[in-house]
Subunit: 243 residues, 2 copies
């Protein structure tokens, strides 16, 4: 029988935003591995579990740790924020897992920031949408630009992950400038900082205003499609052309 | 104080796939309103609640029922499958809610089929992706075609909702033909039927093979991007150009 490893999406932060399947999967494990920030979000119920971490940018080592622990006979979960398969560790686990044919992976989905952030703002993704990360750590910036243009061409509502960081302070501005090539300046937008945490904060603005906003790396940004409206302080994308 | 109404995403089906927040929100309500099929998925814990429904295509009436019940002083939740804000009822509730200024809406997010289906297949949405519905009930087919072309242009991984119905038996074929204008025939794809239910079934195939598959209306289809691979029977999209 293969060693089973679970890759668990824990949602945006607070424990209540986990699915019951995710919670129960973690409870049934011996060892929970994850980035330190996410381990700290786990509550009392998990205090007795073996909790292991590797620093940021040591994702590969974190994955290997999962396989090694599983081979020791531990029941292992790797936790990711949001959904494990949306900019999460799931794909890296499958890639590295090719070297561990005695291990079997299972992904437990979670509420990714596009969904939890959208719920805070109203319903900006209620029709066809794109999810785009502005991080060029693993993707060439030219490809990110191409995707932004394609998203605008297709009149998709857009959720933007990783809109900013210390090294990429002007990336959201650059992304907005690309969208503004074809999208009107008054297009309704919004953003949410620290979704699912105490210090959560949200804002609505136009695309032109968004261009000049400073957002931090814990922010998810939403850009409406041509049918998105502000209704009573909420960002709402219609389901279609009649209701 | 306003009458509070919750619009709750219940995930793909089985109760364990709900977030604890969604579960607790429903438990705290007097009245749960939803499409009959979704009400039936609720377990014993909700048997004592007032459960109300309207038939398919009477979504507007279902929303109005929520507001009327809330005005009667009931604590009301409207349930949607997946996420309430992804092709769900959230935006319609905000639109109709303009006529009920004494009511306040709150969206409780859930695991939409793009995420739960992706977890079944592996990690097909582990980088930038689009979600597109093939239903032309509320969207002109020309717009759907435009979005499919834009998604292919942008090299997005794609999750397709509503790929088929009795009246639209050839829509998935038509969508694949549009993608095949620019995407290679061997592009790895997959699909999942009845996610989160006992009779769930999944398949991997190429884009050319997908074109000729018959899928039912309870299926979510995934089309890889140019970096998607099959790894040990799973559909995996790399996080970027180096790992």
């Amino acid at each position: 029988m293969k060693h089973k490893i679970y890759i668990v999406g824990m949602g945006p932060g607070e424990e209540a935003m986990m699915t019951m399947q995710a919670y129960d999967t973690l409870l049934a494990c011996d060892t929970i591995i994850g980035y330190q920030v996410y381990l700290k979000l786990l509550g009392e119920a998990f205090a007795e579990k073996e909790q292991l971490s590797t620093p940021m940018k040591q994702e590969r080592e974190r994955c290997i740790l999962c396989f090694e622990k599983a081979r020791e006979g531990k029941k292992v979960s790797l936790i990711c924020s949001g959904d494990a398969g949306v900019y999460g560790m799931a794909s890296l686990m499958y890639e590295i897992g090719e070297s561990y044919p005695d291990c079997e992976l299972s992904v437990v989905p979670g509420v990714t920031a596009a969904l939890s952030g959208a719920a805070c703002l109203g319903a900006p993704l209620n029709h066809d949408f794109c999810v785009i990360s502005l991080s060029d750590l693993l993707t060439p910036w030219e490809k990110i630009e191409k995707r932004l243009r394609a998203a605008a061409d297709g009149d998709f509502a857009i959720a933007i992950y990783n809109p900013s960081s210390r090294k990429r302070a002007d990336y959201l501005m650059r992304a907005c400038d690309i969208l503004l090539e074809t999208v009107e300046e008054t297009r309704p937008c919004g953003y949410v900082e620290n979704i699912g945490r105490d210090e959560s904060k949200m804002e609505l603005c136009t695309l032109k205003e968004l261009r000049d906003r400073q957002v931090n790396m814990f922010t998810t940004v939403f850009i409406g499609n041509s049918e998105t409206k502000i209704i009573d302080g909420h960002l709402v994308t219609k389901r279609g052309y009649h209701i």
